[in-house]
């Protein structure tokens, strides 16, 4: 079928063997690609209650059907498995070039299982798959390993790799592609590290067929003109995510000093305007016309970013407004392979406990010197890193203050405090991989656009999250980038090329709903219950004292009421379990 290669590469690291099997056509049609296809395979390849650290826990690498074409932003790839960080589904995305090149190599998916006897690299050149000792790459930073493989294997190679944090199985180690692109959340790097897999390197020279290529080009040129390269999307290229710093700090929802406030007095020193002074170049992911990647050079550190989440969690949340230190911290996290959201949370927690006299970790808010040592300490598990590596939830519990740990289902919280955007509480609580802002984003209407009140929580907010989650569940099958606010009409135009027929909004939304319910079913199977759909208590009960959101609280009762309304809108029972009627309606072919 056009767009797909119809082939799955299955790698058994224990045996050091690889096989190619046909892509399951039924699942392809039901789940399209990316997130959906990954989840269906994940369900099949895992047994209930499987230990995420067991060799059988699969690492699934799945691009979307439009990877390897010139559909803008669609080069993205999802990395999946059962999350070592949360025990939920793991779907973590990165841009770069891996998704596109994997398609050129002739595969729609890689399934990695088993555990290599020693640190290993998998080298793929079209049909040829080799396993090589990565002993000489042990301990290498992400930039080093990519450079080494360009030299040792092929200059045109694209590399998925882990840094030292992944090798040491840190819960929030990420996987890197093209150095600056991270499948950041949920422990993809830990999963790779647990398999003794340092890198997967791919060279692809084959073709992605689309049917009538010239007609396709003509239509894509039109879609680019009308919907991508528009004035409304200009911010993505010109400013990128740091544009959010002023918005969230002004709106009273920017995590500040371990979420004790929502407004950071130093925000103007680390906002978009400040970073633009240090801008040196702009780069794009493979097959993307938006080019959002901003490179900065501050002091002697040059590299991409930081993005908003890093600024919020590793800046305001740890009380740092020193732009040079933040740049360096981001660079160190990139190199060691750390997710900056989780890093900023666990560090903010350690600082908070130190300031409160609960335990002296030797780090305080705004202490730049101690702060800059932390990425290495975490990755190598030395100094305070040895203790912080247990993660936010375990660390807060260990010292008897679970209320200070900002996490949901074990995954640390991103840079939007629900006290300044009430809808985010439901969005976070119902996210399928723990605290995540990329499933539903009420910040948009509540804070950025101001089209919904930020300080109310009712059924309309539950409805908003249901619709958004379905929309994004399909979008992540595509896989289109977050930075293209692609709507159903635009997805229909593209899906028409894939399915060779007219496509309705309803059927796309239904695929999204199907994918969302399958993810939920997986989490229910793994033991998650209604009580896990919770948020840190302070978000509901403890008002801020400063800023736009000062004095406002959601309240536990209100939150639980709206969570119930969310379940009912979803067609789930009062415990959040999808009903038989819902599963049949959606054509989901698995059951608990």
């Amino acid at each position: 079928m056009d767009f797909y290669q119809g082939r799955v590469l299955r790698i058994d690291l224990s045996a050091g063997t690889s096989t190619v099997e046909p892509l399951n056509e039924k699942w392809r049609d039901l789940y399209v690609g990316g997130k959906g296809l990954m989840l269906r395979y994940l369900w099949e390849l895992t047994t209930p209650g499987m230990d995420p650290w067991s060799p059988e826990n699969p690492l699934l690498i799945v691009p979307g059907p439009f990877a390897g074409t010139n559909v803008s932003t669609a080069s993205r790839v999802v990395l999946g498995g059962k999350s070592p960080a949360s025990g939920t589904i793991l779907d973590s995305y990165c841009g770069g070039s891996f998704g596109s090149i994997l398609k050129f190599a002739g595969y729609d998916m890689i399934i990695v299982q088993g555990c290599a006897p020693e640190l290993t690299s998998v080298l793929i050149k079209d049909d040829v798959v080799r396993f090589e000792s990565a002993a000489k790459y042990a301990g290498m930073m992400t930039a080093q390993i990519e450079a080494a493989l360009r030299q040792d294997f092929d200059p045109k190679v694209t590399v998925l790799s882990i840094g030292p944090a992944g090798e040491n199985k840190l819960l929030w180690a990420c996987v890197s592609n093209d150095q600056y692109h991270k499948a950041g959340r949920g422990g993809t790097g830990a999963l790779m590290g647990s398999k003794n897999l340092k890198a997967i390197a791919v060279v692809g020279t084959g073709k992605v067929e689309v049917g009538d290529a010239r007609a396709f080009l003509e239509d894509i040129e039109r879609i680019d003109t009308d919907y991508i390269l528009t004035d409304a999307n200009y911010w993505v290229h010109e400013e990128g995510t740091p544009i959010l710093v002023d918005v969230t700090s002004g709106g009273g929802c920017q995590p500040t000093r371990n979420y004790s406030e929502g407004t950071f007095e130093g925000a103007s020193k680390i906002n978009s305007e400040s970073f633009q002074k240090f801008r040196v170049k702009k780069r794009a992911c493979y097959q993307c016309t938006l080019a959002c990647r901003n490179f900065h050079r501050i002091n002697d550190v040059e590299g991409e970013g930081p993005e908003y989440e890093t600024i919020a969690l590793c800046g305001s949340n740890v009380g740092v407004d020193d732009i040079g230190a933040l740049m360096e911290f981001n660079h160190l996290c990139d190199e060691y392979g750390l997710d900056t959201i989780s890093t900023g949370n666990v560090l903010g927690l350690a600082m908070d406990m130190t300031e409160k006299g609960i335990h002296d970790f030797g780090v305080r808010f705004g202490d730049v010197e101690a702060y800059l040592k932390v990425p290495e300490q975490l990755a190598m598990r030395t100094g305070i890193g040895a203790e912080l590596a247990i993660g936010t939830r375990a660390l807060a519990e260990k010292y008897g203050h679970p209320e200070l740990g900002m996490q949901i289902k074990g995954l640390e919280a991103p840079g939007y405090d629900p006290r300044g955007s009430f809808g985010m509480s439901i969005a976070y609580a119902t996210s399928d991989r723990g605290a995540c802002h990329m499933r539903s984003f009420p910040i948009g209407p509540e804070v950025i656009e101001g089209t919904m009140p930020a300080d109310t929580l009712d059924e309309s907010k539950a409805k908003f999250s249901v619709d958004f989650q379905n929309h994004y569940a399909f979008k992540f099958c595509g896989i289109w980038c977050d930075f293209w606010a692609i709507d159903y009409d635009q997805m229909r135009m593209l899906m028409k090329h894939l399915w060779k027929r007219e496509v309705s909004e309803e059927e796309l939304a239904q695929v999204g709903e199907r994918v969302w319910n399958l993810g939920r079913l997986f989490n229910v199977r793994e033991g998650f219950v209604r009580a896990d759909d919770n948020v840190p208590k302070v978000w509901l009960e403890k008002p801020f004292t400063k800023g736009l959101s000062a004095g406002k609280i959601i309240g536990v009762e209100r939150f639980n009421e709206v969570l119930g309304e969310y379940y009912s809108l979803r067609g789930w029972d009062e415990n959040g379990v999808p009903t038989e009627a819902k599963l049949s309606e959606l054509g989901i072919d698995v059951r608990l």
Partner: protein, 167 residues
């Protein structure tokens, strides 16, 4: 004479030019067969573009023992959203260098002399293949359409700074 230039300084490394090129010529997306390319170092983000300068270079034509590299009259009318809003649709007429596949013996002399590495043996047809400006609507330009970047551009002459289409 019209030819495509990649500004290595402006290029963001998205490879859209290679994708558009290969799909137009090869019937599917296959950048390994694109008629122009960019070398992108993802770590340093240093980029080097490679494209055919046509008669501004002519080394392939000079090297060909079979006279198989021939000039072809062409009118180039770039399309694309932002390949300069004012000048999209404006045409320039001139010649490009194309391969006469009946004459080409695939001897490889041109592959050796091309300074940009943009003329190769076609893996299936076993003759040389190179940029022909897509019969007048270069797809590399059409898809290098970030109005704020515009790296792939149509120029008239290598030494001529008065560009026909320029950001």
């Amino acid at each position: 004479m019209p030819h495509v230039m990649i500004s290595s300084k402006k290029c963001t490394g998205c490879h859209m030019c290679e994708l558009g090129c290969s799909a137009w010529h090869e019937g599917g997306f296959q950048p390994s067969r694109a008629r122009l390319f960019t070398d992108v170092n993802p770590t340093t983000a240093v980029i080097k573009g490679h494209s055919c300068l046509q008669t501004g270079c002519s080394k392939c034509q000079e090297a060909c023992p079979e006279n198989a590299i021939v000039t072809k009259q062409i009118t180039v009318t770039p399309s694309g959203a932002f390949a300069n809003k004012e000048k999209v649709g404006e045409s320039v007429t001139g010649v490009v260098l194309v391969v006469d596949e009946d004459k080409c013996t695939n001897c490889g002399d041109c592959y050796d002399v091309c300074p940009y590495g943009v003329i190769h043996e076609h893996p299936e047809r076993k003759v040389a293949y190179k940029c022909d400006l897509c019969d007048g609507d270069p797809q590399c330009i059409a898809f290098c359409q970030n109005q704020y970047v515009l790296a792939v551009d149509l120029k008239v002459d290598k030494a001529d700074k008065t560009l026909v289409v320029e950001a």
